[in-house]
């Protein structure tokens, strides 16, 4: 999978969030997006997911313009801002319900992905009883479990203990090895430096490659 961003700009009323963004993302790589809070990282992620219409420019997924075709990107999963699940259900029930939308994976695959992130023991606990870090891990499982081609993470390590951060890094590196395209935004420099092959910085509406 390849994502090509051309002359992308986004304005909300009179406020310009992003301007003239030109980037190329390829499968088999991890890309880091850094920038201070409020710099436009999340807006950029939402544009990549097709949740916002660009004010100008195009986003191509393997040469398909998701905006002019009025579609959401194919084989893409994302965790943007904070994970959203039903508090009344357990972590496993939430994932099972989500997986039922496309019906591509079975319970075994969900359990297997939960195991990878040390969530197996908490699978039957209600989501409302989860700690912040555990909620975040469940959000990451939601992204990984259906084996998508493109994975987009916004601040994925929020609230997660150091031991699991290392596990997540290892998982993402393994997924990269399988040819997946992974984009990770974070305001924590260390998260990105340890993971990304290329790093882009969002500043004043521009996104440039960090030297």
């Amino acid at each position: 999978m390849r994502i090509k961003v051309e002359n992308l700009a986004k304005k909300f009323q009179d406020q310009t969030i992003l301007r003239n963004v030109n980037l190329d993302f390829n499968g088999g790589h991890i890309y880091g997006i850094v920038g201070r809070n409020g710099s436009g990282k999340s807006v950029f992620m939402k544009l990549l997911c097709g949740f916002y219409k660009p004010t100008e420019g195009t986003i191509l997924y393997d040469s398909v313009d998701i905006n002019s075709n009025n579609v959401f990107p194919p084989s893409t999963r994302a965790l943007i801002e904070k994970p959203t699940f039903l508090p009344e259900l357990s972590g496993f029930e939430n994932l099972k319900l989500l997986a039922s939308i496309q019906n591509k994976i079975d319970d075994e695959k969900i359990i297997e992905t939960m195991r990878k992130l040390n969530l197996y023991d908490e699978r039957n606990k209600k989501y409302s009883k989860y700690s912040l870090g555990t909620k975040q891990k469940l959000g990451i499982v939601q992204v990984l479990m259906e084996n998508p081609e493109v994975m987009i993470f916004d601040e994925p390590m929020n609230g997660i203990e150091n031991e699991t951060v290392k596990i997540i890094r290892d998982i993402l590196i393994t997924e990269k090895g399988k040819g997946k395209l992974i984009i990770v935004a974070s305001h924590i420099k260390e998260d990105i430096d340890n993971l990304a092959d290329e790093v882009f910085e969002v500043d004043n509406g521009y996104i440039n490659k960090r030297k």
Partner: protein
């Protein structure tokens, strides 16, 4: 479908439980008051309470209950429609197309409206007993209110995407509102037209969401 429906059901009832209980309490208390004040309960007083006895020359009671019922079901439809749009969008929209999402959403609104209306009728059954032809009134009430719900969703989409058109329609609606709110006898008479309009508006919204580049996400 299961995800969208369960998500809508849980969130709607959890986040709006106070409003839903207040609505049920008003309906039940009003029926009880009518039982105490009227000599006998008939279909007219039943229609007053469920908001299907609107008349410009009617009592303030009739006008208030029409507004209460219509307002409540519009609130229900918008709340259910908005779910997935304001939070957790990535869970849904990266897994299902906009067109399919809209179809699932309409089914979700239809089921939740049915459940709420059913409970409302059950409460009124406690007071009214077997004096009313519940089945027929329920069907007409349901079709009329789901039409109003879908129409309000169309206005909601216009509000976020076509502001000028929304203003024009809103002014127009305001001018002719007294002809649009109809009572049970008229609903009975025009039921097939109302149902036809419900289907037509749904197809129109589906095509709008599926083919036109509109922002449905907040």
């Amino acid at each position: 479908m299961r995800y969208i429906f369960i998500n809508d059901l849980f969130r709607f009832f959890k986040e709006n439980i106070k409003i839903i209980i207040t609505y049920f309490m008003i309906i039940f208390a009003s029926s009880y008051v009518r039982l105490l004040t009227d000599n006998f309960l008939n279909q007219d007083s039943f229609l007053d309470i469920i908001g299907l006895n609107f008349s410009l020359n009617g009592s303030i009671w009739q006008i208030l209950f029409t507004c209460l019922n219509i307002g409540f079901y519009i609130f229900l439809a918008i709340k259910v429609f908005e779910n997935n749009l304001s939070s957790g969008s990535e869970n849904v929209f990266l897994r299902v197309s906009k067109g399919k999402w809209y179809i699932y959403k309409v089914i979700s609104i239809l089921i939740i409206t049915f459940l709420v209306m059913f409970v409302c009728y059950l409460l009124m059954f406690i007071i009214y007993g077997y004096k009313i032809n519940y089945g027929m009134i329920f069907i007409y009430n349901y079709i009329y209110f789901i039409f109003i719900e879908i129409f309000s969703i169309l206005l909601y989409i216009f509000y976020y995407n076509f502001k000028k058109l929304f203003v024009i329609i809103f002014i127009l609606l305001f001018l002719i509102i007294k002809y649009l709110i109809i009572d049970f006898r008229l609903i009975n008479h025009y039921i097939f037209i109302i149902f036809g309009l419900f289907v037509f508006i749904n197809i129109f919204i589906y095509l709008l969401i599926r083919f036109k580049k509109i922002d449905i996400l907040k």
